[in-house]
């Protein structure tokens, strides 16, 4: 009896000692999990739906994902139809009223920034285009600033009791982000005008920020896997004026970029694309550090 009682007291003490988690969050992509870690001030526990090796367009509404959306207080995703194939299904099947569109618990990063590549004409002959514009918004540090501000606001709205903590976490993050951004922008000067071939248009925001250019994409149309005829066309177009490198995300098929790299004699490199996409890219800061490291390597 005594033993049971002391065990119970011990358990209670342990429960009290572990910090109270006020919020359960569901992040579609690891970038938003990292941002929640920065802004959550220890009050947010985040489940990340996908990892850096998974193509965010082609996720299936797996039972595990439905179960985690069911229990979430806040859902943070890229939006702009990046998750169109699976997020609506998750929301519908989760029956969770807190995270349905229009609720405070439904947060889309792409809604907080101005999107580029908004098509003037929507025709699937152009590939799997996103009518709202390019959704890969995490690859411009200036976007992150806007998103961080809005997300922090949202955390305060959902969990008003900890508003002061969220405020100080935001200002701390903003300070560090501004400092880091300044350094990145210094480094970025050497990359101006660099031309690269990309697997998919996943890097448009990055290239805009760095003033770099696409020399072409391996996919003939967005969402259509590279074909041999398109690759030969690219090869003959680029032979006279080869790009500095061929870039891809960790989840993209290495074969097409390696094929072209061999024939053009330019390096094929993997950019982290998302948090966790490379060694050292463990958070949003690391994501940019490693991305610039790898680009500087080929710009030499």
């Amino acid at each position: 009896m005594k033993a049971i009682l002391s065990a119970m007291i011990l358990a209670a003490a342990f429960a009290a000692a572990s910090p109270a988690r006020a919020l359960e969050a569901f992040a579609c992509e690891p970038d938003w999990a990292s941002l929640l870690e920065e802004l959550g001030a220890g009050h947010v526990e985040t489940y990340t739906a996908i990892n850096a090796h998974q193509d965010p367009h082609y996720i299936q509404a797996r039972p595990s994902l439905i179960a985690h959306v069911r229990n979430a207080d806040l859902l943070v995703c890229s939006g702009a139809q990046l998750e169109i194939g699976w997020l609506p299904l998750l929301l519908r099947r989760s029956t969770n009223s807190k995270v349905q569109p229009g609720q405070p618990g439904y947060f889309l990063a792409a809604d907080q920034v101005r999107k580029i590549e908004v098509p003037s004409q929507i025709d699937r002959a152009q590939g799997d285009i996103h009518p709202e514009g390019n959704p890969h918004v995490q690859l411009d540090p200036r976007n992150i600033k806007f998103i961080a501000r809005a997300l922090s606001q949202r955390l305060k709205q959902i969990d008003a009791a900890n508003a002061a903590d969220y405020d100080s976490a935001l200002s701390d993050f903003q300070k560090r982000w501004d400092e880091a951004s300044e350094k990145w922008e210094q480094r970025a000067r050497t990359l101006r005008g660099l031309r690269v071939v990309a697997h998919h248009v996943s890097f448009s925001y990055l290239l805009r920020w760095l003033h770099m250019d696409y020399a072409g994409t391996l996919e003939p149309k967005p969402g259509v896997p590279p074909t041999s005829s398109h690759l030969s066309e690219l090869l003959s177009d680029l032979k006279a004026n080869p790009p500095a490198a061929i870039i891809r995300a960790p989840y993209q098929d290495p074969k097409p970029s390696e094929w072209l790299s061999e024939r053009l004699g330019v390096p094929a490199i993997v950019l982290p694309y998302t948090v966790g996409g490379a060694e050292g890219a463990d958070d949003l800061f690391g994501l940019y550090d490693v991305t610039l490291d790898r680009l500087e390597e080929v710009a030499k």
């Binding site: 090796h53 039972p63 179960a67 194939g85 029956t95 009223s97 349905q100 929507i122 709202e132 806007f146």
Partner: protein, 456 residues
Amino acid sequence: MRFRLIVSLWAALAVQAAATAHAAEDPAQQVKELRRMLEEMKTNYEARIEQLEQRLDNAERAVAEARDQASSAEQSAEDARDTAEEVAMQPVRQATPLSALNPGIDAVLVGSYGDFDVGGEDYAIPGFIVGPESGPGDPGFSLGESEFNMYSNIDDRFFGNVTFSLHDEGGETGVELEEAYLQTLTLPAGLRVRGGRFFSDIGYLNSFHPHADEFTDRPLPYQAFLGRNYRDDGVQVSWLAPTDTFLLVGAEAFKGGGFPANAEPGAGAGAWTLFAHTGGDIGISNSWAAGLSYLHADVDAGRVASDGTSFVGESKLWIADAVYKWAPDGNPRNRNFKLQGEYFARSEDGDLGGVPYSGDQNGWYLQGIYQFAPHWSAGYRYDRLHADGVGTALSGTPLDPLGLSPERHSLVLQWQNSEFSKVRFQFTRDDSTPVTDNQFFIQYIATMGAHPAHQF
């Protein structure tokens, strides 16, 4: 004029000659003079070089200064551009393009060509009374299950879906209201209610529309026990458990108007179901789902066999299903494998054309699909059925399995251009009827409109 010029020339020559003669007189004086002249020239040139160097230096400095000014101008231009960009990046409410409008509307085009001998209206599996949509249909060209689908959140609390499908009816093309239902979005505690006409959530494959299948036809147990898939008018209540492992349990009550049920109208629920589905991930590369379902159906208005006799009675069907999926790093885009199987057991009591019948039937299928390249996948399926033998009173009737065990082997190869279009080739060795039939199918499936959902 000419005279004056000549005179002055002569005068100049004379002076020159005199000077030379004078210099030649004293060589030491001459050297001294030359040295002085050289010295003079040297200082003169040094001064000039120094002057030139000074000017060059000035010029260089000016250039550098100009360059500095230019680069700082460039710098401020860059800064200005960055600032302008940043200002331009300020979030605004971007206009929603027309096609992103609610509701999601899509049309699925399915067309096929089939080369086979056993099929058509009279398709029958010995030992079973199959549903009206069972069997491969008529050989030749077919519009299969082309469908038109519209879905949307109706308001903040409801979601609605309506699907029309085209199907062949003895040479004619019929339009059918396949699904039309309303479901709740925001009931508390993981509860959900759905009402209308819908595909039952029993089994694994039943709730999928046929165009989402990996083969051109449903496995034999679906064809024999559910008439391809079970749908009816009714209501469903389900509950999603608040656990990290997915667990969904639910129940449905139906009118009982759809195969395998055929209840007398107005007699309450002519069919009801219970189901439980669970699933999760194992590491990042593996995921699974499993379920157990029960369907109770009244057949008091009769189930008519191909020879015109009718089964009247009660039907109880159990389904166990399991699905396993593998994708490297959990990324199914380039390569993935899916293994799927379901086991059906049915027990029916009643009579066939007035003769009492009580029998057990079962069936199962197992299929594997491997996507080995972004554009290509291949798969194999084995499906079979078993029906208990019947007494002499029922011998020779449609419920007599004739000692056969219907089975099929199918191979499929699929090419997909994008998420929205695929073409598949299927070969099936069909032993589901007393005649062995080698069947060949080509089928295309194309989706236009709203983006298709990636159902697990």
